[in-house]
Assembly symmetry: C2
Amino acid sequence: MAPPTQDNRQRIIAAAREAFMTEGYRSSIDHIAQIAGVAKQTVYNHFPTKEALFDEMTSDNMNLFLVSLSDSPDNPRQALLEFGRKYYEVVLTGQCVAWMRMIAAEAPRFPDMAARTYKLGPVAMLEQLTEYLSRAMASKKLRKDDPQLAAEILYGMLSGAERTRMLFGAEREPYDQEKRVTAIIDCFMRAYQP
Amino acid sequence: MAPPTQDNRQRIIAAAREAFMTEGYRSSIDHIAQIAGVAKQTVYNHFPTKEALFDEMTSDNMNLFLVSLSDSPDNPRQALLEFGRKYYEVVLTGQCVAWMRMIAAEAPRFPDMAARTYKLGPVAMLEQLTEYLSRAMASKKLRKDDPQLAAEILYGMLSGAERTRMLFGAEREPYDQEKRVTAIIDCFMRAYQP
DNA sequence: CACATATTGGACTGTACAGTCTAGTCCAAT
DNA sequence: ATTGGACTAGACTGTACAGTCCAATATGTG
């Protein structure tokens, strides 16, 4: 009935994640404390303000939604396919979209937090892609072109319509995700064949 | 000092648009009334609740961000280029992104509104594109393929990375928008040449 | 003019919530 | 056994805001 500090801190952050993700910043401290199974004052023992808690939880969250990209430039199609599949599994997820929705909503109020998140999320992913495509282009596996633009285009194809749909909370008629990823990567490969 | 009803109604809606767009749903009725230059009670004379006002203003807003697509299937590249340019001018705009950010943020709370908006915005645009691509494919101007998927891919390429960036409120190093649109359409044309 | 209706400003109610405070409990180390 | 730090429960303060009420005023119509 008197667990150590660090434990409570983690519980509070986890509760904050859950609450903020589902209700946005309007979620109350009382509620978060309740989810964490902790007294309100304990929350304030660990974080001076609601804002600080919010900030901490987003920092904590960043690495949850990263997708790695194999660095074998020999078979771009295969590597990109894998990437696409993982991307769909990790990023185009209720969880991740809820998070993004919340970040976007609060971006005007917390520009620094939003900028940081943007950098550690989409930008990191784009840089990874750019790097990869650049190498693949250098070794003539892909058409020589602006690798950054190509990365952005691929990123757009993967996330674009689907993420928009999810942001609006719309349902989608059942469809074959694997087929979709394959079609997208094939499309990209057609456009960027050497 | 006592303008007729219809006039006030419009002023209130306009004020609501401005307020909701910049501050989200948390913007207060008092504030909206103040922007409209109208007494709070007047707002309630026209709209029973804040929710009703919000709903009305989104309905009113829908047709603000539509992009038309010429229906000459003879020269897809040209038609799509024009479409892309208009899209960038209209949709990838601070205004429109602020609006989308707000809709997304409130989607869990107002699912009907979000669904309606989604349908009249992105879906309408996608249907238009699908229709166009389908005809272009039929007349052999484009590679025969699933036109809906092609539309979603094109939509993604156009909006994807750029919209994500804007949603996060990030700045972009100066760049040539026209060049970007051209590159995107060219990429699409490469992938979908007959 | 008289009436109905819209508007105004401001007071008011009730609720939700951030953040503070207090009194007391539990635990570990000295 | 005492001290100190974290914790708890709950009361409390101050503020912001949705929505109501009211008394006074302007407007247009019959």
